[in-house]
């Protein structure tokens, strides 16, 4: 196993990852990698184990066996917040916004390494803390503005429309400054117009240097956006490749695309 980082080594590597719940095999000997600066999509039917893979990567679940490497370092076994700090940020299918916090607070809470983030620092206060807070809030406002949420800074997250909540979730994700973004069905439930908007945003993120691992049901979007596609079925990888290859793979047509279209 090679752990020496080199310029063209992948950003994220999964090696023989397995996880079962009780007797149920959710993920079985799964291996794939994500190249820096790419959009990789994870597709498969319901229960294929996609979200479990996300939970394994982010440390919300512990793998039964196998390794996960990020920038060539093992991250499996680390607690979720350390993995997030290493540069992996995720969104959730059910958003998991801080419902009774303002939109601004939702985004501001995600900014890493804030000065007043520890109890002691917040008790001591001081001018530098105030300045840092102003700066962070300005950054959060900037993000909200980018996401067309200007004017909603003080609204509670739960008071926003569903589309706005999805945007806010993206804003919170971006505020973490993570390098690898795991997006769990970012376009589900959105109007066609908003789906387009989201695709554009995802593209621009990659252009700005982010790497993206995507779970997506909408095949059209997957084909259009992805650089690489990994197909899962019942916890196992059954195919991977560039979108064209995968589209022509018969077994994929049968097990996944055939059913979902």
């Amino acid at each position: 196993m090679s752990t020496s980082p080199s310029s063209n080594s992948p950003l994220l590597v999964l090696e023989d990852l397995s996880k079962s719940f009780g007797g149920l095999r959710a993920v079985h000997e799964l291996s794939f990698s994500v190249q820096a600066g790419s959009i990789t999509s994870l597709i498969g039917g319901n229960g294929a184990g996609k979200t479990t893979v996300f939970n394994l990567i982010t440390g919300n679940l512990g793998a039964d066996s196998g390794h996960i490497l990020f920038r060539g370092r093992r991250i499996d076994g680390l607690p979720p917040h350390k993995i997030a700090r290493a540069g992996i940020a995720r969104s959730f299918q059910d958003l998991r916004l801080f419902s009774r916090l303002s939109a601004l607070d939702n985004v501001a809470a995600a900014i890493p390494q804030q000065r007043g983030e520890s109890l002691l620092a917040s008790l001591l206060g001081g001018a530098r803390l105030k300045a840092a807070n102003r700066e962070n809030e300005a950054r959060a406002r900037g993000l909200l503005e980018q996401l067309t949420l200007a004017g909603h800074e003080e609204s509670l997250a739960e008071q926003l429309s569903y589309g706005q909540q999805k945007l806010l979730g993206l804003g919170r994700l971006l505020a973490t400054e993570g390098e690898l973004l795991l997006l769990d069905e970012p376009t589900a439930g959105l109007s066609p117009g908003m789906v387009e908007d989201f695709c554009g945003r995802i593209r621009r993120l990659v252009d700005a240097g982010k790497t993206i691992l995507l779970i997506e049901h909408n095949v059209e979007i997957v084909m259009r956006l992805s650089d690489w596609v990994v197909v899962m079925h019942q916890g196992e990888k059954i195919a991977e490749g560039v979108p064209e290859e995968v589209r022509h793979n018969v077994s994929v047509m049968h097990t996944y695309l055939g059913i979902s279209s």
Partner: protein, 290 residues
């Protein structure tokens, strides 16, 4: 006058206890019923120090707070791994164990408790009147309020509320939920223990019953009535709930059932505020307690 001052003293102590508990319950979503235990730790440490070594106010307060920190570490390390009802039940377990220690250790005087605590001294000044002790309690409440306000308005406070809303999401942002909960738990224990110090000095004799489970429930009643997530609410409710039974003593209720009626009124307040007015008297939002 001393009676009124004494009641004021109790109000200030309970305001401190309620504010410190509200940081856990209202801001962080940690429903703890071990607050009376932490309060008792401070009270016992103070009584033991004052009877045997020193009744210097600053020293006894600091050592009590240190004791509060030590005990809260013991409670927090396991309890903070649990969520919601499980956390509540674990704190109930610790509350009962702490009470049992007060009740049965030789050191704490067992059920007899400790008595004859001397008046506190600070830089050669002795606080020997009710009024002076009342002012100390008010000072503590003010310090607690100001620091709590500072905490809740800081980025750390934002994280507290974020933890209350969704712990998984907070950890996905690279923030250690455990560290956040741990720090606020300790902060809360420090003020509960300091309130215990002043309680000991104002009453001069302590016993285990003052720090039993009922006391924890009373403190959480103040927090709920005042409004979870509202510091002003905690202060207001501390004043009102101490005043309520005192005021009821002046009502023409038959003497024999008046005490039970007062207890029932506490029960009614708990039911009313959890069922119909979860934001408390002046709480932030309808739904903080959800």
């Amino acid at each position: 006058m001393d009676y009124v001052i004494y009641i004021g003293n109790l109000m200030a102590l309970y305001a401190t206890l309620a504010i410190s508990l509200n940081l856990l319950v209202g801001y962080t979503g940690l429903i703890s019923i071990a607050q009376a235990g932490m309060y008792g730790i401070g009270a016992y440490i103070t009584a033991l120090l004052a009877l045997n070594f020193t009744h210097d106010l600053l020293l006894t307060t600091l050592l009590s707070a240190a004791g509060g920190v030590a005990v809260s570490l013991v409670v927090a390390l396991p309890a903070l791994r649990l969520r919601n009802e499980y956390f509540l039940i674990a704190t109930m377990g610790f509350q009962s164990i702490i009470y049992s220690l007060f009740m049965n250790l030789e050191l704490t005087g067992g059920p007899n408790g400790l008595w004859g605590v001397p008046h506190p001294q600070l830089f050669g000044f002795t606080f020997n009147t009710s009024l002076e002790k009342f002012l100390l309690a008010v000072a503590l409440a003010v310090v607690c309020y100001v620091l709590a306000l500072r905490v809740t308005r800081s980025p750390f406070g934002r994280l507290l509320r974020a933890v209350r809303e969704d712990q998984t999401a907070v950890s996905s942002l690279g923030k250690s939920v455990y560290r956040i909960k741990f720090s606020i738990f300790i902060f809360s224990a420090i003020f509960a223990a300091a309130a215990g110090t002043l309680y000991t000095y104002s009453i001069t004799a302590i016993d285990p019953v003052a720090f039993a489970l009922d006391e924890s429930i009373f403190i959480i009643t103040i927090v709920i009535v005042g409004g979870t997530g509202s510091l002003n609410g905690s202060v207001l409710a501390a004043v009102l709930l101490i005043l309520l039974p005192e005021a009821m003593k002046f009502l023409p209720i038959p003497a024999l059932i008046a005490p039970q009626i007062r207890q029932i009124s506490y029960g009614l307040l708990l039911v009313f505020f959890t069922r119909f007015r979860r934001q408390g008297l002046i709480g932030e939002y309808q739904d903080v307690l959800k």
